[in-house]
C-alpha cells in the first residue's frame, strides 16, 4: 500500500474544464457538490482506503525564526502568490493506478450546471519507511 496526497488548488493548477467560481453556482449546485465530497470520503472509508482530509483557509502567513530570544518574524499574506492550496486528502491504496482512478473520481465532483468540474488535482506519493530486505 502507498499513501498519496491529493491536493486541490485555489490557484496554481491548470484551468478546470467547467471553470465557474463557486459563488456563481446555485445553492442547490453547492449542496450537490458538498454531498458528492462527503459521499466520496465515506466510500473511501468503507473501502479501507481513507486516511484523512481537510480544507484550508486561503489566508495564510509566512513565519520564520529571527534569532534566539526574538519572536518569529511574520510576513504576508501575499495576494499574488502563484500557488495556493485549497485542501488535501490522504488515501492509502494498493497501486498508482488506483490512486489515479480515485483522483479522477474526485475531479468529477459536480459544479456549475450540475456538470463535473473536471478540476485538476495534484497527486503526490508519500515517501514510505525503508524496507528491511533490499539486497
Amino acid at each position: 500500500m502507498t499513501k498519496y496526497l491529493l491536493l486541490k488548488h485555489y490557484r496554481g493548477a491548470p484551468t478546470a474544464v467547467n471553470d465557474v467560481p463557486m459563488d456563481r453556482w446555485t445553492p442547490e449546485e453547492i449542496s450537490a457538490h458538498m454531498q458528492y465530497m462527503d459521499d466520496f470520503a465515506a466510500r473511501l472509508e468503507n473501502s479501507g482506503e481513507y486516511v484523512g482530509a481537510a480544507a484550508l483557509s486561503p489566508e495564510g502567513t509566512f513565519v520564520r525564526f529571527d534569532g534566539d530570544g526574538r519572536p518569529p518574524v511574520t510576513d504576508g499574506p501575499f495576494a499574488e502568490t502563484k500557488d495556493l492550496i485549497a485542501g488535501w486528502m490522504v488515501i492509502d491504496v494498493e497501486s498508482y493506478d488506483r490512486a489515479l482512478e480515485l483522483a479522477g473520481e474526485l475531479s468529477a465532483a459536480p459544479g456549475a450546471g450540475g456538470k463535473p468540474i473536471h478540476e485538476w488535482l495534484e497527486l503526490r506519493p508519500f515517501l514510505a519507511a525503508p524496507e528491511t530486505i533490499t539486497e
Binding site: N46, G48, D92, A129, I133
Partner: protein, 384 residues
C-alpha cells in the same frame, strides 16, 4: 501480562468456535472482542487457564451478537453446537487460518491486515497504528476482507506461496508503531514452519532471521541508514544468525530450491563474513544467478550487477548494469556506487544527487544526499 502469549492463542480459539459451527467472520469477531476484554481484565485478574478463558468469553460474545442479530441461522447453530466438546486439532486449525487469511481473492494489503488480526491476534487499533491509517479505515479493510473470503470453505487446502508473500510483506514493509511488525512476522513464520515442512517456509524464516539479526547495526541512533559494508558487525545478533543458518541448511538439504532459500543463502554469506572485505562475492554472484533463474526479476538483476562489481571490479559491474532499464528503482544509486568505486567521483556525486531525488523513502534519500555531499566535499578539497 504476556500479550505475546495471549496472541499465540488466537488461531486455536477461532478454530474451536468454527468447529462449533460458527462461521469464520463471526468467530473472528467474537475472538477479537474476547482479546480486547482480556487486555482490559487480565492485568488485574489473570485467569489460570488462559485459552479456556478466551474460549468461554469468545463464545459468550458470539452468543450476545447472535441474539442481538436474531438471525435464525445463528440460533440454529447455537442449539446444535452448544454441548459439543471440541476435539484436539489446534495445529490444523492454525494452518487453515493462514491459508484463509492469505486467500488469493484478497488484495495483499487486505491479506496482511486479516492475517495480523486472525492469526496474529493483534487488535484492529494496533494494526491501524502500525500501518498509519485511522482505526475506522483498518476496521473496514478487515471486514471487507472477511466478506471476500466468506464463501471459502474453512478446511480447504491453500497455497503456501501466497501465505509466504503475505508474511514477507509484514516483515519487509518496515512501518512501526507499538507493535514490532518484523518480530511479529518472524513469530508467525516460525509458527507456520512448525506446522508444515515446506522448504520455502524454512527459507523465508531463515531469510527473516538473518536480516533481523543485523537490525541493531542497520541504523544510527538518529535514524540514518548504515550501509551493510559500514555496519558494526559486533552488533549483529550471532545467536539469531546461527539459528537462521541452521534453518536454511536443513531446508537446502532437501534439494528443492526456491527464491526465499536463495535470498537467505545470500544473507547467510553476508552474515558469514567477519568484515565487509571478507565477503565471498563470487559465491554471492552465483546465488544471484540461481535467484535470477528462479524469478527472472529485474530487481535481482540489478542487485546482481552490484555483486558483480564487488566480485570482478566496478567496470564489470557497470557493464552488467548497462543491460538494465535505468528506470528501475535504485538503478541510479547502484550506478553512483559503482562509478565511485571506479574512481569517477564527479559522475558519482551527480548520480547520488539524482538518486536521492528518486528515493522511495526518507531514510534512503538522506543517505544518498549525504553520499553526494561527501563526494562534493572531497572534490572541493581536491580542487583547492
Amino acid at each position: 501480562m504476556d500479550e505475546a502469549l495471549l496472541r499465540t492463542l488466537t488461531p486455536a480459539v477461532i478454530g474451536i468456535l468454527v468447529r462449533r459451527g460458527v462461521d469464520f467472520a463471526a468467530a473472528e469477531d467474537a475472538v477479537q472482542d474476547a482479546m480486547v476484554e482480556a487486555l482490559r481484565v487480565w492485568p488485574d485478574d489473570p485467569p489460570r487457564d488462559q485459552k479456556g478463558w478466551l474460549v468461554v468469553v469468545a463464545w459468550r460474545k458470539f452468543l450476545d451478537t447472535a441474539r442481538a442479530d436474531g438471525s435464525r441461522r445463528q440460533r440454529e447453530v447455537i442449539v446444535e453446537s452448544e454441548p459439543v466438546p471440541e476435539p484436539r486439532q489446534a495445529m490444523d486449525d492454525t494452518l487453515q487460518l493462514y491459508f484463509l487469511c492469505a486467500h488469493p481473492s484478497l488484495t495483499p494489503a487486505s491479506a496482511v491486515a486479516l492475517t495480523l488480526r486472525a492469526v496474529g491476534g493483534l487488535t484492529t487499533r494496533q494494526i491501524a497504528k502500525a500501518y498509519l491509517v485511522p482505526e475506522a479505515t483498518m476496521a473496514q479493510r478487515i471486514s471487507r476482507a472477511k466478506r471476500t473470503v466468506s464463501g471459502v470453505r474453512f478446511n480447504q487446502p491453500g497455497d503456501v506461496a501466497t501465505v509466504l508473500r503475505v508474511l514477507y510483506l509484514v516483515f519487509n514493509e518496515g512501518y512501526s508503531g507499538d507493535i514490532d511488525l518484523a518480530a511479529e512476522a518472524i513469530r508467525l513464520t516460525r509458527q507456520l514452519a512448525e506446522e508444515t515442512r515446506h522448504e520455502e517456509v524454512a527459507g523465508l524464516l531463515a531469510l527473516m532471521l538473518l536480516h533481523h539479526a543485523r537490525r541493531p547495526a542497520r541504523m544510527r541512533p538518529d535514524g540514518s541508514l548504515v550501509p551493510l559494508a559500514e555496519q558494526d558487525r559486533s552488533l549483529w545478533d550471532t545467536a539469531m544468525i546461527s539459528e537462521g543458518v541452521d534453518v536454511l541448511q536443513a531446508a537446502l538439504m532437501r534439494d528443492r530450491l526456491g527464491e526465499y532459500q536463495a535470498q537467505a543463502a545470500i544473507a547467510a554469506l553476508h552474515a558469514d563474513a567477519r568484515t565487509a572485505d571478507d565477503t565471498d562475492w563470487v559465491q554471492i554472484v552465483e546465488w544471484y544467478d540461481e535467484l535470477l533463474r528462479l524469478t527472472g526479476s529485474p530487481i535481482v538483476r540489478l542487485n546482481r550487477a552490484v555483486a558483480v562489481g564487488e566480485a570482478d571490479g566496478p567496470r564489470a559491474g557497470l557493464a552488467a548494469l548497462a543491460d538494465l532499464d535505468p528506470s528501475l528503482p535504485r538503478f541510479t544509486a547502484a550506478a553512483a556506487y559503482l562509478h565511485e568505486r571506479d574512481g569517477d567521483l564527479v559522475t558519482a556525486a551527480q548520480l547520488y544527487a539524482d538518486a536521492a531525488q528518486a528515493a522511495p523513502n526518507l531514510a534512503e534519500r538522506h543517505h544518498l544526499t549525504r553520499q553526494a555531499a561527501r563526494l562534493n566535499a572531497e572534490l572541493r578539497t581536491r580542487d583547492s
